[in-house]
Amino acid sequence: MLNGMQSSGVVHAYAAFGAVAQMRYTEPVITLDLDILVALPDPDRLDLLPGIYEFCANHGFQTAGHAGRVGAWPVQFLPVYDALTREALEHAEICTLEEVPIRVVGANYLAAIALATGRSRDHERVLALLESGAASRAQIEALARRHGLSEAWGRFQKRLGDG
């Protein structure tokens, strides 16, 4: 569905992020949805997602309460909303899920996005990614510096007791 959406121009690019992407590196975490970051052809439009909903409906992917479904996963789409998410999308990695290639946000970007969101569970995600060895402090710090998140990174480290 996602690759079809990209090849038909409904989205310019997509990548899975959030808990589903995190599970590439950490032990399983409970989540209800597959979060998909998308770059849209016309991001200035106010109604951002109708094209996606229409595509899913026309291709039989629609499901109650969600725009679409990938395998067993109800999908939530989120348009890129800042420079960090745009960059994360550009640097997404290609993995395989149920024998289909899927683009997924990498560990350092996942951590930086979680840092920007800043809730307790997002800090848990940063910690889990660091502990897995998939994300590095140096890389997260560099992303934080470039995207105005140095303060958030400082808060996270302080919370860990080593800031």
């Binding site: 589903v20 599970m23 590439r24 950490t26 032990e27 399983p28 975490v29 409970i30 989540t31 209800l32 395998g71 067993a72 996963w73 993995c95 395989t96 899920l97 149920e98």
Partner: protein, 60 residues
């Protein structure tokens, strides 16, 4: 330390390690199954809930 506690910790660690060693796809299948199971149990849980919300009353 009590031997039973030691055994419990050992098994818990083993379980945690085994989850880490799953492939991405296996982890996603596991979580999807948990999610489906929760969705399956939800109606029965709602029927048993002592103080249902107004919206749940409406479902009856």
């Amino acid at each position: 330390m009590d031997e039973r506690i030691r055994e419990l910790i050992r098994r818990q660690t083993e379980w945690q390690e085994s989850r880490k060693n799953l492939t991405w796809e296996e982890k996603l299948h596991m979580v999807a199954q948990v999610r489906e199971e929760v969705a399956r149990l939800l109606p029965a849980y709602r029927r048993r809930a002592p103080n249902p919300q107004p919206a749940q009353e409406h479902e009856k």
